[in-house]
Amino acid sequence: MSGEAILTRNFARSDSHTLGVYRETGGYQAWAKAQAMEPTAILDEVKRSNLRGLGGAGFPTGTKWSFIPKNHPGPVYLVINADEGEPGTFKDRYLLERDPHALIEGMLIAARAIGSATGFVYVRGEYVEPWRRFAAAVREAYEARYLGSGFDIVVHRGAGAYICGEETGLISSLEGKKGWPKLKPPFPAIKGAFGAPTIVNNVETICQVPHIINRGAEWFAGLGTKTQGGTRMYSVSGRVARPAVYETSVSITLRQLIYDLAGGVTGNGKLKAVVPGGSSAAILTADEIDVTMDVDGLRNAGTMAGSAGVIVMDETVSIPEALMVVARFYAHESCGQCTPCRESTGWIYKMTRRIVERRGRKEDLDTILDVAKRGAGTTICAFYDGAVGPYISYIEKFRGEFEALVPK
């Protein structure tokens, strides 16, 4: 229905996480091929594939890799962001549990392209089973000598903090500190983990790399849109008939994803709104779902592809209540470093809460919009911009529903 399954091709097998199954289905052939390629040839292949980061920012992966200084005398690190935490997203959990060797093989190839001998995989602390599965696969890869002969992987567990999914917050945490994001520049590619040039990539992004090497950049680019290649894994949840991970081309529309793949709205209800890319993406109304799900398609629609976490809301859902839940999340997870974010996320949660509890004031909605708009772009990292997306879009698109809760 959605074309060929690439990343998820083995997911139905209960032993899909083992080295045996991975090899049997073509695993580590791309690594064999990549070892005969010059690092620049690997980089060029990934650039031409139009692979874009699948963690949230959608930055072109090959371009990111090319920022590593040439012939750097010291170590270069490859860091994998497996700190999945964007509300509505669960794809990396599946990859770690069901195809961990794809990540290891992708890391081997990426490390060759950027000249790295050490990779760190930062797994969110709550992911105990995915961490065990991935660590077991790493042990298998050492025994099979894929690892330990030129490239090593350190599996690192986080300790519970959404901000560590932000790449410089992740680096701080990996260094044994609280996960405070760092000012850029310098970008991690110049001065990253432990002061060395570092590439931070998402799990799913790196799992795509072996397929690009095996089947070529043109094939991968052809699966997607003009500006983004490939398939990606959409996490679909909320008020849909079949919540699940769906792998499909990034050229699919949001309508097709909801109705053709996820079975439509729960109980044949009426669609009200959709969050298309994790909770930090601006909300879309039921009339705005004829958009393609690639990075640029959603950006042009005034929202973002983000982590591809699709949260569906039907007519039974109260949008003010949904915003209160989202605002509580940002208030809890703000790291506290920048004043606009620390203060606004706390106050906006309190205000949305009093609106939902019918204690709101007439001026609250405009105050929230004003605070949100002033603070955007003033902080060290993108966390607060991510919070502002829902604050503004929920209120502007469903203002009547909020106003109805404010006592006259």
Binding site: A159, K177, P243, C335
Partner: protein, 165 residues
């Protein structure tokens, strides 16, 4: 004021646990990289991270106790007081909320007689209400110790609680 002699004894790692800390420290370009993993190890060994444990771990890393305190208090998975024998963390984020998490949390509160953030009087269960655990396809859900419990109903919650010793 309690005298120094009454202060809780400083917890210490066994030889094997110390060896594991040193192995972890050697994995990072700067040993400090192993601080979070070492704190996980300390929590496993001692049940929670007390101020004395922070001081002890700080000594193993040549860090100030203040730095370790800052790290411990930043993250949600380090307990600063001894939790119950089981930790039940219910997701209250958006997808779970849409799937009925408030009713699941209300049910847990009634069954356990505690609010989120509290531990039952018999020390069996600590109840927490937490942000997205990224299993939204099976909402509402919760984490019980190491396990994810999915597609919760009140009946399923009762069954799970009944299995916790």
């Amino acid at each position: 004021m309690k005298g120094r002699d009454d202060a809780p004894a400083a917890p210490t790692f066994s030889e094997a646990q110390l060896a594991e800390v040193h192995r972890l420290q050697a994995l990072y370009p700067d040993p400090q990289g192993a601080l979070l993993p070492a704190l996980h190890l300390a929590q496993e060994a001692f049940g929670y991270i007390s101020l004395e444990t922070e001081e002890y771990v700080a000594g193993l890393f040549n860090l100030s106790p203040a730095h370790v305190h800052e790290v411990v208090t930043f993250y949600t998975l380090y307990f600063r007081e001894r939790p119950g024998r089981h930790v039940v963390s219910v997701c209250h984020n958006l997808s779970c909320h849409l799937a009925g998490a408030p009713a699941i949390i209300a049910h847990l509160k009634t069954r356990l007689g505690v609010a989120p953030g509290e531990t039952t009087a018999d020390g069996r269960v600590t109840l927490l209400s937490v942000e997205c655990l990224c299993a939204c396809e099976a909402a509402p859900m919760m984490q019980v110790d190491d396990r994810y419990e999915l597609d919760l109903t009140p009946a399923k919650v009762d069954q799970i609680l009944g299995s916790l010793a």
